[in-house]
Symmetry: D3
Subunit: 292 residues, 6 copies
Amino acid sequence: MSEQFLRLGVPKGSLQDATLKLFAKAGWKIKLHNRNYFPDIDDDRIKCSLARAQEMSMYVENGTFDVGLTGMDWIKENKSDVVIVDDLIYSKVSNRKARWVLCVKGDSPYKRPEDLEGKKVATELMGFTKEYFASQNINVDVSFSWGTTEAKVVEDLCDAIVEITETGTTIRANGLRIIAELMQTNTQLIANKDAWEDPKKRKLITEINMLLQGALKAEKMVGLKMNLPKEKLADLNGSLPSLNSPTVAELQDPNWLSVEIMVEEMVVRDLIPRLVEFGAEGIIEYPLNKVI
Amino acid sequence: MSEQFLRLGVPKGSLQDATLKLFAKAGWKIKLHNRNYFPDIDDDRIKCSLARAQEMSMYVENGTFDVGLTGMDWIKENKSDVVIVDDLIYSKVSNRKARWVLCVKGDSPYKRPEDLEGKKVATELMGFTKEYFASQNINVDVSFSWGTTEAKVVEDLCDAIVEITETGTTIRANGLRIIAELMQTNTQLIANKDAWEDPKKRKLITEINMLLQGALKAEKMVGLKMNLPKEKLADLNGSLPSLNSPTVAELQDPNWLSVEIMVEEMVVRDLIPRLVEFGAEGIIEYPLNKVI
Amino acid sequence: MSEQFLRLGVPKGSLQDATLKLFAKAGWKIKLHNRNYFPDIDDDRIKCSLARAQEMSMYVENGTFDVGLTGMDWIKENKSDVVIVDDLIYSKVSNRKARWVLCVKGDSPYKRPEDLEGKKVATELMGFTKEYFASQNINVDVSFSWGTTEAKVVEDLCDAIVEITETGTTIRANGLRIIAELMQTNTQLIANKDAWEDPKKRKLITEINMLLQGALKAEKMVGLKMNLPKEKLADLNGSLPSLNSPTVAELQDPNWLSVEIMVEEMVVRDLIPRLVEFGAEGIIEYPLNKVI
Amino acid sequence: MSEQFLRLGVPKGSLQDATLKLFAKAGWKIKLHNRNYFPDIDDDRIKCSLARAQEMSMYVENGTFDVGLTGMDWIKENKSDVVIVDDLIYSKVSNRKARWVLCVKGDSPYKRPEDLEGKKVATELMGFTKEYFASQNINVDVSFSWGTTEAKVVEDLCDAIVEITETGTTIRANGLRIIAELMQTNTQLIANKDAWEDPKKRKLITEINMLLQGALKAEKMVGLKMNLPKEKLADLNGSLPSLNSPTVAELQDPNWLSVEIMVEEMVVRDLIPRLVEFGAEGIIEYPLNKVI
Amino acid sequence: MSEQFLRLGVPKGSLQDATLKLFAKAGWKIKLHNRNYFPDIDDDRIKCSLARAQEMSMYVENGTFDVGLTGMDWIKENKSDVVIVDDLIYSKVSNRKARWVLCVKGDSPYKRPEDLEGKKVATELMGFTKEYFASQNINVDVSFSWGTTEAKVVEDLCDAIVEITETGTTIRANGLRIIAELMQTNTQLIANKDAWEDPKKRKLITEINMLLQGALKAEKMVGLKMNLPKEKLADLNGSLPSLNSPTVAELQDPNWLSVEIMVEEMVVRDLIPRLVEFGAEGIIEYPLNKVI
Amino acid sequence: MSEQFLRLGVPKGSLQDATLKLFAKAGWKIKLHNRNYFPDIDDDRIKCSLARAQEMSMYVENGTFDVGLTGMDWIKENKSDVVIVDDLIYSKVSNRKARWVLCVKGDSPYKRPEDLEGKKVATELMGFTKEYFASQNINVDVSFSWGTTEAKVVEDLCDAIVEITETGTTIRANGLRIIAELMQTNTQLIANKDAWEDPKKRKLITEINMLLQGALKAEKMVGLKMNLPKEKLADLNGSLPSLNSPTVAELQDPNWLSVEIMVEEMVVRDLIPRLVEFGAEGIIEYPLNKVI
């Protein structure tokens, strides 16, 4: 590595807790300090800094950080020239990506973006919003909002807003109506271009990504292990397409095989009854920490 | 399935939390809504409703629900003509079944049910109680109690009560004495008779039961895995009767076998020392999610 | 066993919660009673009593208890003639042993123990402290402290203290300076000498120790399982020295092996990338309850 | 008193906590026992029992209790012949009385009670509901509901329900519509007729009521004290009608008076500005425990 | 009032809870709604909206709100032309005003603002910061910071920051050094100019301020009441200067007076011993809700 | 004061929280620091140290502290020559003093202290216990106990114990029986003899005691204020003996008097009805902070 350590940007705010938990599962303990933006990490090769998700991609682009986590929305807003290493789909209740949507008052006449010609739009994501409307050849007056953005439409401070939402609940609770979805967004692992060209740094970034992905994958998966009559194996592979690459071992009893598979937890309830019909015995399900 | 979905009755009240946890372990997420009695379930084939355990079997009998969970006591009280699919022995501290018992004041002269001839008995389970005394040819005056039933004996509002108890603590704390046990009760998975005759519905109910039972069983069990000298295997099977059906695999080293067993957690502390004496090495214990 | 049961002393106070959790992992449920010093244990062969860690070794020595847990410091302080069965390294944040240290005021002239000739020393561990200074031929006046020992140096009630510390934080927070480490201490499983000579009791004590150690070991370890091309196995054993004694099984596919190892959780993040480079596939990490 | 003590019925359930707090403010500590229905009270003249609000008036009527607290709804349902000593308006968020209302599905055709002719109605308050419909000459089939009553309309198990509500939130959340209010209800202090004729018991009941009312009143009131120029007093009494019966004292300075009043906390924000305009000085507001 | 109601802006964020508590003490209950920015207030003359403290003064200036609460810092930043009704010194632990300070790295060479000539300064308060440096004839490059501003100096993204602090703890924890204090700030009650000219609105704003101030004052004060020998009164007034304007009333006993004073709670421990020496008897201290 | 400050010893352990709350009510804020034995106090004349209650009187005797709080038991155990300034009866649930009692096994033959001749007694309070038995001419073997003292009798490690108890619950829960009460004990405010002779220090100690006692007294008392017809006053004083020294003021209406009294909260429920019978009107009860 051209320097002594890899500088990692940890997003402060709504992504922070999920990020710390994910690194813990992957094998790194990151410890926050009260009123200090430089968390400790138990790996001498890495130094951590907290930064706002809104600013992260700028810091990765300009080399302040070698690698960082942030949303695709702020990468686009900042037009940052960074390496997108991988998508990090954190396990959430909704499992839906967050969306930036264009909303108007519920009882307003606006039905489509073009109805907003000449109107006022408030948003936290100004650059992206301006470009969106420009690309559609719609003239709007875009102004910045510090927050409580929904309230601005309700109080007639603007005609529309561009706001982020996962489930739409807050938007509906304020009596607003979504008329367009402008972007979907998700957490990304991003790297600085020079760091990515440095073989030592790229190797470490790649390993971190491998372990983060392994921990994310294990959250949704479980191990299944069973004994199967040997003559059923071929049929099993043919008829249960989800069973790609089972680990099959001989048992002492020459008529039986041990079959072990890793599957998504949510398919287990459908799979087990089919395995039983198939003749499997001694089926057990066990939890996983990582799946690589 | 003759209809699009299976209607599942979830017991509201004391069984509710245990039921939701059990379904989660079995593979279904049921999500309650505040002030609304129709929980979501993450399976398009099923629709959930909350209902009181007392009323559940009636709704399963009349087809409002295809399948439901409730206690054997209320099935009998309602004389509901339903299919008893299986017993669900929830893991509790006491691990004892709940019992409906006949209690009198601690210092009263009554020793046996027949001593209550001509007396007053209060209970929440009126039908069952009347039948019990009729079957014994004892004349008693049975009246309905809304609750705080123990207090009624203490205050001489009645001579005896029929009440449910797990450990007897509340009964003793009020100075009462149990003179007879009338019924043991336990949670049951029950099905509507027509639903049970519908092949698609029966299949789904059977699969739900298989997974509920698998999750219940895993709560008390762990996996043990060890390496064993090949020549000891026969002895092991002979001398350790609890080891029914171990999964035995060849290792690369031709002198050793890999042996894997599922055992009740509470026997592990006795079993491991015997396995070590026997020559087992590399013993590990790991947790289980389901045992089918 | 010469008596009906093994009498186990459970340390009351700072070790109590960690002790109960450790026994639970090992397979015994110990249940405290409010305002009563005789906890229940779910094993008919054992009776539990609570005792202070300071007095534990005296009770084990005189046979009140057959076996107990306490620190090495109080065994030495009491000069108890007991059998040290094993070290119990509870998993703590610091993972360091506690130390009894000799401390003086930060701005005092004392640099070494011999500088305290003729001075006053306060401690809770009087016997050990007196002997220590006697063995060094240093005359000091040792007095007993009931607690808040650090404050006594700050207020000039004494010139030095002998106090226990894990990380030194409290000592530094009071402006004190450590000039010597007198003893390291750790929790020990100790047994009465006669009990140890009784074959039945020794067998049970040995089994308890085996399971306690198995639970302690599993806290820091995880299981790793992978598929490996058969021709890589020899290389793997040679180049990955941490992989002592993997369990290797044949798979049905004659070119692949199943390799399973137990490793410390903290090396996994370095190990997995090397295994992947090596050609391993389907790597999973899973949690462990016990490693014997 | 004809007997040694006054028997007081304390409502178990939703009214229980509010009742215990009210008695504490009035001057009596009532202490519940776990799993026992006879709370302690720190007054040798009184004995407490817990009873369900639904059954309370029956027990007061038949003399089991001399005095008790329950809702007007269950007094009417039970048609109990008891003395209504006083209304107890507990301070609640809403400050509204609870109401029993007739509800139908939001999208049903029923607009008025008479539209339910020949239909099914479910309720926990059967007697009252039957009488209500009889008095209106409407034939309906009233059936008893154990709870989750709103769900029964939603699932078409009945056409309407009679249910209690304070704010209507649960009713609306289930998509129901209120078509009539049948009764308002409130907590009452009630007494047995014989107890009320016993002079000693009536005296104690009256004193308890005086102190309960004094504590309830003080929750909404504060004390205001001010100095006022003597010549303004007559004007003050004339122009501030809310100031009935101020306590007026001479001050040493013969030109000023001390005026002290007890007022509802919610009028203070309007009153203080008027007092200042009027020439009052040194106005203070202080909290009250009781106002008799 | 020219309109039906007074529009009140409530600051969302760090001031929000303190604001709601203060209004509650003053006599108004403001109730937040989940996911909705229009809290309820129990006064028909007022309508509340939540707004960010940063934007509040703009909304008061343009008439969106008639009156609002925000910090002096953001009033200045926005150069808002509003009426400053009064200072609201919320009771805090520190009781110090917050300060915007100019900070540099602890080990940097900068000692005074002029040392930053030609350097980069980051802040959330851009307008004010630019003007400050312009007024000092210092050329600096001021850039906007979204937050975690201290980190930017540490990471050399800028040379200095202008940041808010109460105690300086966060600044020191990041190793920064304060080289100048640029502004002190405190919560203000502000009004729109037109609203202030409307007699009805000004009257209501003035009353709200009177009650907010009365509640703030009462937090630090208590009432003291005592009986005093008549001949001591003159001496008391002379020798106890803190006792300005006691309320003195005659008692029935012509030799004694009743003396009542409101004093700061923190002087009571010094005052009571002096009052006792002076001959005062029956001294009581009681709590206050408001002091006008 | 001969020195700059008064050194105050604050008891660490079971008395600590109650002590801090009491000083707060009296007017001093004492703030603990984590891992440091020298709390801050908001009075420049005082310096605080934490010390164990067992050692407090020794430090007050030798002048380390000028004043401190500890139990009478440890003053006697240490035979400390200190000034007992006053008793501090902390308000507890039981309101009973703690007692050191002599206990034996419930089924033992010992009935009186003299039955223990030649027996073994364990206690934490060795000096006092030895003297007690010596003064009774009873020979016993007294040994020191670090804690869990009750268990030692149960396990036959001794024949009797001398232990502290408030309600006897722990003693009964272990099946022990009290055969003698040896000492009652209570928290004391104690002073060093020289400090007490220093006029400045004695003055400050006396003031602290006055305010501590004033705060303790106010916890159990409330203020009652009422208007009374003038002709009833003489009768009132005669017939209501609890009303010693009411404060009586003339009202403007020459027929009425204002009467104000401080009474124990627990008599209010009896007093108010009698005052109403007597003709009192406008009775209010209000809370108190201090009563001197």
